[in-house]
């Protein structure tokens, strides 16, 4: 077994558990000790990641609509992160290695990049349906 990968697996697992407990018991929407986005505090605009801490807390409490409202991109990307975590864990424990096929598709990355940039622009338009995208 690859020792480095196993160490990474253990560290990431511990980090995920600790952070999940933190965001579950101290929701980011009502606790001020969480750091705010630097882009947001300097410019006043939302970045593509703004609202993801509040969205994480909401998701941990099963409030999917609230999470979508805070940061829809974060919620949409969570399944891909789980997919990556699954492939990584599989490769740690199984002798037959598998590849993260989705992430190595040129089309997928281009779509993702456009999506992130479009989300960044549209969530800062203070009119019409775009207000819903704001953090």
């Amino acid at each position: 077994m690859d020792k480095k990968a196993l160490t990474q697996f253990i560290l990431v697992t511990i980090a995920v558990i600790v952070l999940s407990l933190l965001y579950f018991f101290y929701p980011a929407a009502t606790n001020r000790f969480y750091p705010t986005c630097f882009f947001h505090s300097i410019t006043g605009y939302d970045c593509p990641g703004c609202g993801s801490q509040r969205a994480a807390s909401a998701l941990l409490h099963g409030k999917i609509t609230a999470a979508l409202d805070y940061n829809i991109l974060f919620v949409l990307l969570i399944p891909f992160v789980f997919y990556a975590a699954f492939v990584f864990s599989w490769n740690v424990f199984s002798r037959k290695k598998i590849q993260q096929h989705i992430f190595y598709s040129p089309v997928f990355v281009k779509i993702l990049l456009c999506l992130v940039l479009a989300f960044w622009i549209f969530r800062n338009i203070p009119a019409g349906p775009f207000i819903w995208l704001k953090a």
């Binding site: 000790f33 750091p35 593509p48 992160v81 598709s105 990355v109 990049l113």
Partner: protein, 104 residues
Amino acid sequence: MEQQTLSQAPPPSSAPPKNWLVESILVTIFCCLPFGIAGIVFASQVNSKWAVADYNGALQASKEAAKWTKIGFFVSIGCWVLYLIAVFALGLGGFWMTSRSLNQ
């Protein structure tokens, strides 16, 4: 030495170099702009260059992606630590407790 590793093209049958896409996504959604976006841009280059058999280009893009993702990650960790020091060591803990009870 680095020149040499860059000029060696890997065999076409092997897997593409690590594109750091998942790491870039995490950096982007956990708020450390613009490093995460830079990471995604280079991840995209890794994939497209590998697809047209530009192995050296893909390898170089992989290194750039790694660089920006790591910068984003460590800057974000550094800011977290500084922030926590500011909150707890500079006595803002009391302010936080007050604001918390007001909010709930």
